[in-house]
């Protein structure tokens, strides 16, 4: 099972902060495509270019594979500091 987390604007736009899904074996890009099928809003916000993805708290590229138990997080460009 994987925990999938959403933060900031993305969390508000998807109206979802956390999902539990088994997505091991998918690439990060494939996961975004799969989640985007939920509805038009998810499609609009998850497939935009301004989504960063971290696996196990480290930023990764779209072709990065998700392993069993990995924590996946999706969020907009960061604005701290």
């Amino acid at each position: 099972m994987n925990k999938i987390l959403f933060f900031a604007q993305l969390r508000e736009r998807l109206e979802c902060d956390e999902l539990d899904l088994d997505v091991a074996g998918l690439s990060v890009g494939e996961l975004r495509q799969q989640l985007a099928q939920k509805n038009e809003r998810w499609q609009k916000w998850l497939l935009g270019k301004d989504v960063l993805v971290a696996v196990n708290q480290t930023l990764v590229a779209a072709d990065s594979r998700i392993g069993a138990g990995d924590e996946v997080a999706m969020f907009p460009p960061v604005t701290g500091g």
Partner: protein
């Protein structure tokens, strides 16, 4: 020393922390980022800082190690506040002590530039009329971070 906290921090205490256990660092640089009254053309009343707790600590610790690999540093402090913040409040401290002032200045800039583009914090502003507005990432910050790559 990495801290993510809601509370304010004290400049004397943080200065002391930067020079502790160490008589040899001649140079101390402290950078403080604050809540501005105007940002991206909007008048700000209040700010809310959201973060991804498991990742902020992990990333900032990695960032400290990266800086230590690039410069001879004594103590490093990164403090980032989260939760509700008011106008003029401190948001972030990056502090560095080193034998050499060049190293202290450069490492502090490096830490801020990378924190700005990679640490998972997000600012939401309360602007005129009580509306909420997520701050947009600044292209200038991406360029500043890229110069270190």
């Amino acid at each position: 020393m990495i801290r993510v906290q809601q509370a304010d921090f004290d400049m004397n205490q943080e200065y002391q922390a930067l020079i502790s256990d160490d008589c040899s660092s001649g140079a101390v640089v402290m950078f403080v980022g604050r809540v501005r009254d105007v940002n991206q053309g909007h008048q700000i009343d209040e700010l809310y800082l959201e973060h991804y707790p498991e990742m902020t600590n992990k990333y900032l610790s990695q960032l400290e190690q990266q800086a230590r690999a690039l410069w001879p540093l004594e103590n490093v402090s990164i403090i980032h506040r989260v939760g509700p913040l008011q106008l003029e409040d401190k948001i972030v401290l990056v502090g560095v002590s080193s034998v050499h002032r060049e190293a202290a200045f450069e490492a502090a800039q490096y830490l801020m530039d990378l924190l700005k583009t990679n640490a998972p914090f997000w600012k939401k502003e309360v602007i005129e009329g009580g509306h909420n507005r997520w701050v947009e990432a600044n292209h200038k910050d991406t360029i500043a971070a890229a110069q270190w790559a």
